[in-house]
Chain length 334, copies 2
């Protein structure tokens, strides 16, 4: 294992110190609880947005904390859910009197811990908490750490769009409904060319042959649909886009945000090659691309591979997508 | 070789189509000449900024085209200089009557081709062209494809700062002087944990042992200072920061933009671990960090590793750094 780290046990601790040092203009970090906060949290009268999960998916979630997106992100160990104490601390700290939304990717540990935190926060301080779970991955029904579909790329788009709505001062019920709508209209699927190595494990999570790829891989390297011999980008794009299009389904006349995401170890050059193929497939299906996003936004350490997310949008969702955002990972309009 | 590509010969062509599809709101692409343009180029009365180089370093340079940065970027084959015809086309197309600045990384092919293009552009159309060469890499004096120091990370910072100055309508001489000042005050050094594979070659550019790293690596995998056994991030940071600090030199009371750059295959989590160490070393040296940048901005395909760039800044450089920019790779204020 070759990594730019100190002791493998200190990776998350050290990275949080780096995030704080690099972004102290916008963020603050509670090192004891391992929570990254928007600097001005809690914002009076605004619904507080809390997310979090295992580390190793950066910039998700800590890189999406800031004006127009999250108020707090709880960082677990690499690929390990944060614990309820972290989520309770975050919930209390971002409660500006309008309640708190938990945005939870559908993995058993995350769901269970966020549920417990929501109950305890309500009992402790009377904070009103609503949870929304993302489950946009069409690859498999159940998986290693998930009952039901996994929450993946749509989480990025949801945090942006719902963050904009919260910034407008909308009440908790509306913000939660919007989050459910975004999750309901979003679908994703990914593939891996290589595994990744969790620092504490010291060896690759799984093995792939010299010319194999894993279709439908999870963001922790969980098995997907099948292992296949590698094919050109054009065919890889079809293997991702077709199951997505057929699932919602998306069709002629629909407008989408098209998101080609890198898993962490794939060059941007290749992501643009993939985006070209995805855009052509959408064109053939009569689907209009309203907005696009290409880059590494929900990663799996140094895994090579990519995922495609489509989110069906109306004018309102596009307006919220375009609204100002100021986070380390996504920034525009400010 | 496992990559998300079609025919290895078509990688750049396909990626340019993807860039056009994803960013047609801001950019246009001349596919015959393989030049990416700011959509509204030429801008009347503004100095036109042209850069370019081998592909495989994305987002550099094509991802830095847009308002507040470059007017055009010429894309060569992977790790191969663009040809003078591309640069001539770009120079003519961005000439808004105030002349054109060529921003050239110091590699023999790039320097020679940009020189020829500048001469031909002047002879052909009378366009006034000034070239500024970046050579900020302190690792080695000469290298595989370079006489003198290599141009690396400072190029990103220079394109941003000089782009802001050109946007203000400053004349060519001033813009060029500013570019030279930025290059003169910037220093960089990098390291690699792994090699990368050029698609047309099909095999890794170089080999590193299981626990080795290359100190002072170039952005095409050119040899650096030495191969050493891997050490913790804290020590890696010192091996990069100390030669940089000693070279300008930077010292007590200096203010810098501190830039920790990923080579393409290193997780953001690790880049923040490195940033933490770099920030501590700067603190000990009495150097103040005015602004920071952490992420993959000048890459080497899927190489694992990082580089550190320091740029000594005054209030004016910070103001230009903070000015609005709207490119796929860097965006704020718009």
């Amino acid at each position: 294992m070759k990594k730019l780290i100190n002791d493998p046990a200190d990776v998350v601790k050290d990275a949080l110190r780096g995030i704080e040092a690099a972004h102290s203009d916008r963020l603050r970090v509670d090192h004891e609880n391992r929570v990254i906060y928007r600097k001005d949290a809690p914002v009076r009268g605004k619904v507080g947005l809390v997310s979090g999960g295992g580390s190793g998916h950066e910039p998700l979630h800590g890189g999406f904390v800031g004006v127009g997106m999250l108020d707090a992100a709880c960082a677990g160990e690499v690929f390990t859910s944060p614990v309820p104490d972290q989520m309770m601390a975050a919930t209390a700290a971002v409660d500006g009197g309008a309640g708190v939304l938990h945005i939870v990717k559908n993995y058993t540990g995350d769901v269970m811990n966020f549920e417990m935190a929501a109950e305890l926060a309500a009992a402790d301080s009377g904070t009103e908490v609503v949870s929304v779970v993302t489950d946009d991955d069409v690859a498999v029904q159940d998986s290693t750490w998930t009952a039901g579909r996994r929450g993946v790329g749509v989480t990025v788009l949801l945090e942006k769009i719902v963050g904009a709505a919260a910034e407008e001062g909308r009440p908790l019920g509306e913000v939660a409904d919007l989050a459910r709508k975004v999750n309901g209209q979003g679908r994703s699927m990914g593939l891996a060319l290589t595994s990744c190595t969790v620092p504490a494990a010291g060896k690759p999570t799984f093995e792939l042959g010299e010319s194999e790829f894993e279709l439908g891989v999870g963001i922790h390297g969980e098995p997907g649909r099948q292992r296949l011999p590698l094919v050109p980008a054009k065919d890889l794009a079809a293997l991702l886009v077709e199951p997505i299009l057929g699932d919602l389904p998306y069709g002629k006349g629909d407008s989408v945000i098209a998101f080609v995401n890198g898993m962490g170890g794939t060059p941007l050059l290749e992501l643009y090659v993939m985006y070209n193929e995805v855009a052509q497939l959408l064109g053939k299906a009569g689907v209009t691309v309203a907005r696009s996003l290409v880059g590494n936004y929900i990663t799996s350490l140094e895994m090579a591979g990519c995922s495609v997310t489509l989110l069906k949008v109306d004018d309102e969702l596009v307006r919220l997508w375009d609204a100002p955002v100021n986070t380390p990972g996504l920034r525009w309009g400010v």
